[in-house]
Amino acid sequence: MPIANFLPTNVDYARFLPELILTVAGVLIMFLEALRSEGRRTNAGLVAILALVLALPAALMSSSGPAFQGMLVIDGMATFFRTLVIVVGLLVVFSSTDYLRRENQESGEYYALILFSIVGQCVMVSANELVMIFIGLEISSIASYILAGYLRDDARNNEAALKYFLLGSFATAFLLYGVAWMYGATGSTNLTEIRRALISGAAPPEALIGVAAALIFVGLAFKISAAPFQGWAPDVYQGAPAPVSAFLTVGPKAAAFAVLLRIFLGSLEPIAARWAPAIWVCALATMVVGNFAAIMQSNIKRLLAYSSIAHAGYVLVAVAANSGTGSAAAMFYLAAYAFTNIGAFAVVTYFSRKGERYVGIDDFAGLAQRQPGMAAMLTIFLLSLIGVPLTGGFFGKFYIFKAALDSKLIWLTVLGLLNSAVAAYYYLRILVVMYFREPGESVETLPPAGALLQIAVYGSAVGTLLLGIFPSLILDFANRAAIR
């Protein structure tokens, strides 16, 4: 076959446009940084925002179909998740600027890293090749490692970065090993090929696929912080800069879930009987670990970290449902959770003040009286995390458990519902201190929130409520995009 057949066409580039835009912007930022004279404030943030705003329509409008010899496949799900991570990036950038200025650590690299990591996630969610998935995963992860340790003079940051990095690469090794086995068993690393191999007459011994699937699952489960691979999450989310934690709890997680859905609900669907029960157990373990460990936390970032573990558990329930509704539910939930959690972290970022000194729950005492607006927003986010109606969190939960019941996972549903009742307890504790306690000294000196941060907070709040009141906005899309 002549090389010419392999030259990328415009269609290929068009379908790859969001990644291109973001990459170019990233490179541009690096140049700007190099040229920036000392002491002048960087405007990399602006560039990043522009790039993301541009990438958004590119992602939404990109025609669907394969690209680059089937390395990528742009389908509904890819579009959904690409849009999601780009929006996430936007919100994170908004909520970061003030933070970086406060810690006077603002520099272009930060934004470049965010952009690159988003590129990685975009690649992940649209990849149809284990190679692409692997590379995308690595791009997003390595960027995250750096971001987690961004304030390099802060011991918490270093530790977070180190833990995230070591354990991350450790897990990646397992993922790779799994990929190797998958390759050996099916003779291909292309997801479509793999599926074909599984249903073809000369199907490879299932046990092999099983092992490969298991190892791949471990790698992804680590990224989505599912029990028992969740160990790193609380430490990293607590140690990393608050906006970065927000990003980590949402962006890479969403991408990893997308991959999980693609691989397991897509390619490995023929052997669902093997992996579904494992995910069942994993989902339950994750919910329990997340919720029950969170009960005891006194540090809000850590509490939110555990809560994010718990929520990963809920999404896993949707995955375990192994159905179109299930994947749609997972997608919707991730979207709702993205808004909610970024918003929550944004408020926490604001309340924590320079050097994140005030992240103890008691430091939030009486904030409702000092900062009614922000407190109200945090209330909305917490209610969404609890799963109170008219918030995205509620509808997400509802739809997930609906999917689970569709697939006759009655016990998982019941246990999940009870879990969400338990969860109410620790979220309420935050509301309690914010509203029912009298203000402590820590809230006396609270500078007004910056405009960008406010955009992030109110934006996420609007998103959360919209998804709660008019879920159809996204749900219909998710239902159409869902695998099967």
């Binding site: 590379i135 003779g187 690393t189």
Partner: protein, 108 residues
């Protein structure tokens, strides 16, 4: 493994077994070593083991996708090494130690 007189050529499964052994050794290193750098090297060992599997499989399948894959693994490993070592440097700058267990201030 079948013992007895050494055959002229060994089956691929031997290569795979070797890679499994190396992978396990890597994990063991991760679990046992206390020096952060050594731990990191254990990871590299694991990656190498994986590469061996890839190469072996692509020999079995008579396709070179495995080679490509392991090539990318190397690239990634290189990148990881750069970043990882940088992180290790910052940690050392802050704590003056490479003892992995002393990097455990974040916990409940």
């Amino acid at each position: 493994m079948p013992l007895g007189p050494l055959p002229a050529a060994v089956p691929p499964s031997w290569y795979l077994t070797l890679s499994a052994i190396l992978f396990a050794l890597g994990v063991l290193g991760f679990l046992l070593r206390r020096n952060i750098i050594t731990v990191f090297m254990s990871i590299e060992l694991m990656l190498n083991a994986v590469n061996l599997s890839f190469i072996t499989f692509s020999y079995v399948l008579k396709r070179n996708d495995g080679h490509i894959f392991s090539f990318f693994v190397m690239v990634v490993a290189a990148a990881e090494a750069a970043v990882g070592l940088a992180i290790i440097l910052t940690v050392f700058k802050n704590r003056q130690t490479l003892e992995i267990d002393e990097v455990s201030s974040l916990k409940n």
